[in-house]
Structures are given as C-alpha cells and as structure tokens.
Symmetry: C2
Subunit: 187 residues, 2 copies
DNA sequence: CGCCGAGTTGAACTGAATCAAGAAACGTGG
DNA sequence: CCACGTTTCTTGATTCAGTTCAACTCGGCG
C-alpha cells in the first residue's frame, strides 16, 4: 500500500484528506494463481494495482493465446480499451501467481477524481503517465527486431523471465516461443 | 476551429467562459508544406490540432527515415513522449502539405487545465482518449500481418494514401515500400 | 526532349514461423 | 520419496512472409 500511495504522490500533490478518500474508494483483494479477473465479452470494470504477484492480459488471435501485457508488482493493469470506452473487452485478464491487488472500480474512480480539484489533476497526470507507457511500448514493437525487443525486456522487467512461462513472454514480445528460446541461447 | 471545439465538447462540458479561455491559450498558425515543426534533440513544446493539411512524425532508425504517426485534419499531433516528459525528442515533426494548425503550448495547456475544475476534467478525459488511440495502434501492430495492417489503414484513414508518399505509409505500417506496393496491387 | 523522384516489378536472400521430436522440470498420487 | 504424466523448454528441418538489391516504368517539369 505504501508503494501505491507513493505512485500517486510522485505524480502530484496528495493531501492527507485526499489520501484517505483515495484509500476509501479502493479495495484490497487476494486471488490464488490462475484466477480469471476478466473474461472476453465483458466490460472491464476494474483497474488493478499489483501489490504482490503477477497479472497478465491476453487475447485469442486465430485461436492462439497472445499476451498483451504483463503486470508485476507496483504496476497498474487493466484492459484499458474496454475500461475507458465501457465496451466489451476482447481481452482476458488472469493472475499468474497468488496475488494481492488493489482494485479500482471504474465508477468509483471517476467519482474519486470528480470529488476534488486536486484529485482531478492527479487523475489527469496519471493518464499522461499511461500515455507514456503505451508510447514507449509502441515504439519498441514498431522499430526493434525480435532480439532487440528481448534485450529491452530483460532490462526493463528483470526477474520476470523466471516467473512467467516462455510462451507468454514470447507472444508479448511478438515472436514465437521457439524464436525466443533460440535468441535466449544465443542461437 | 469549429471542429476543434467540437472535439472538446464531445469529451465533456465546455462552458462558454471556458471555451473563451481555451481559445485564448491557443494560436492559429500556418505553415507551407515540408516545414519542420520539431527537430530531434529538442523538447516538444507544442501539440497541434490540424485544421487543414497533414502532419507527420518520424525518426531515424539506423539512418533510415521511419514514420511514427500521420496526423490529418481534425486530429491532434505531437511527440507526446517528449511533450509529457519534457525531455529531448528522438523524433521529428514536419508538415506534408500547407497547413493550418492550432498550436497548444505545453506551459499554456497546463495552465489552462489548472485554471478551472471543468477544464481539468476535460484535460483528463482528453488524455484518456489519447490512451485509447495508442492502445488501438499498439494492438494493431502487435497482432496483425502486413496485409491486415494495410487493410485497417485504408479503412481508418481513407484518402490519406493518395496524399502521402508510399514510403512514409509503408514505414508507418512497419513494412518496406516494396511490400506495401505488392500488397496494394494484390501481389 | 531528357532528367528526376515516385512507384512497380523481379530475383535472391533472410529472419522468423511452422512442424515435429525430444529433453528437462514439475506436480501429484500412490 | 519415487514413478508417472503433464507441461515447459530446446533443438532441428523446412517453409514462408517480408527484406534487400537492382532494374525498369511512369508522369511531371525544366
């Protein structure tokens, strides 16, 4: 929880009252490994902050499981496409490990941001952070080769390789499991 | 200008006073074709709304010109990575046609959003829209083949193919000019 | 006319996917 | 604590989508 608060404090000014307000709108939840948090076809109603564990977003493209996002400790995860549009998601979300999460419900989050000037601003800057994340990943996948993407991954997500099946990382990086295995072994 | 205002009105509530405030913070600028609006190494200080014309963002990867984004009429364009972090951009921005643009300066935009509760909210929802755009493009480039990406492009950007050199569209879609030429002719 | 940039087409090449076995690691029940 | 089946990872052979390199076409314009 300390890390969660720090994330917001780093973004903007968070007064003690607003901090309390924030904490009152979110819920601490625990799930065992391999729990489905969102099914395709449903609207994504929650954003999760990962306190402990690991979450994955994925979808089925031509019947194959493809990882869209991997969320380790201290990161926010959600099917943002559906979360913001309020339309059914084409993506699934699952836990890959036993998890402790902080759940941000859509309606409550909107209410939170609307409840004070300061929070509204934090919300805006929070979204800007999200834009930066996506922009970076977009550039990465647009311009870099499979080997470069792997290199960047192990640098930006140290330790995750050991915690997630290779196949999931491979599709996250836009390559097959075999290719990743070969890159990893130095061909 | 009407289209610009409509964009914001569609997002949230824009009172007449705030509308006036908004208009007073932006500047209408005109540039001839092939004008450089941002050079690599500089911080991107402006976001542009394209009233008329066409803007392109690009960078040099291994000495080659690669298009990152194409902004036609009624869209916002800027090197958001640099714009939000206030760090030097690795990207360039140029006009591809004579342009009429509305310039949103970083500091003024922040001031605008800070100047009222309503505008702060509009700013937040505006950023959320940006997230949606990036999320869509990320999925597109992550999961689809060259031919699929082309198909989606001509549907989402009708007419642009006729206005932009093929090489720029090709690199925007993550393929070579020759490949795009072949896809277009049906192999 | 003849040049020049933009687009097309062809042939050879290559990075990565696919298909197909194995090997290693893992977990569960006896 | 071992045995067995399942899942995960590696390795090899082949195929394929897309790149590279190079030549050629076309239309505009001095």
């Amino acid at each position: 929880m300390e890390n969660l608060l720090r994330t917001f404090r780093d973004i903007g000014n968070l007064s003690p009252e607003n901090e309390k307000l924030l904490l009152s709108t979110i819920e601490r939840v625990e799930y065992p490994s391999k729990t489905i948090l969102l099914e395709e076809g449903n609207v994504c109603n929650n954003l999760y902050f990962v306190e402990k564990g690991l979450i994955r977003i994925y979808l089925y493209k031509d019947g194959k499981d493809v990882t869209c996002w991997i969320g380790p400790e201290n990161e926010f995860v959600g099917a943002i496409g559906s979360f913001f549009t309020r339309e059914p998601s084409n993506k699934w979300i699952e836990t890959l490990e036993p998890c402790v999460l902080w759940k941000f419900e859509y309606a409550k989050l909107e209410e939170l941001f609307s409840s004070s000037r300061e929070l509204e601003k934090i919300g805006r800057l929070f979204s800007n952070q999200g834009i930066l994340l996506l922009d970076k990943r977009l550039d990465n996948i647009h311009f870099n080769t499979a080997a470069e993407r792997y290199e960047i991954f192990i640098n930006t997500h140290p330790g995750i390789l050991q915690r997630v099946p290779l196949s999931m990382i491979a599709s996250y990086l836009g390559m097959t499991q075999e290719t990743l295995s070969r890159i990893r072994s130095g061909r």
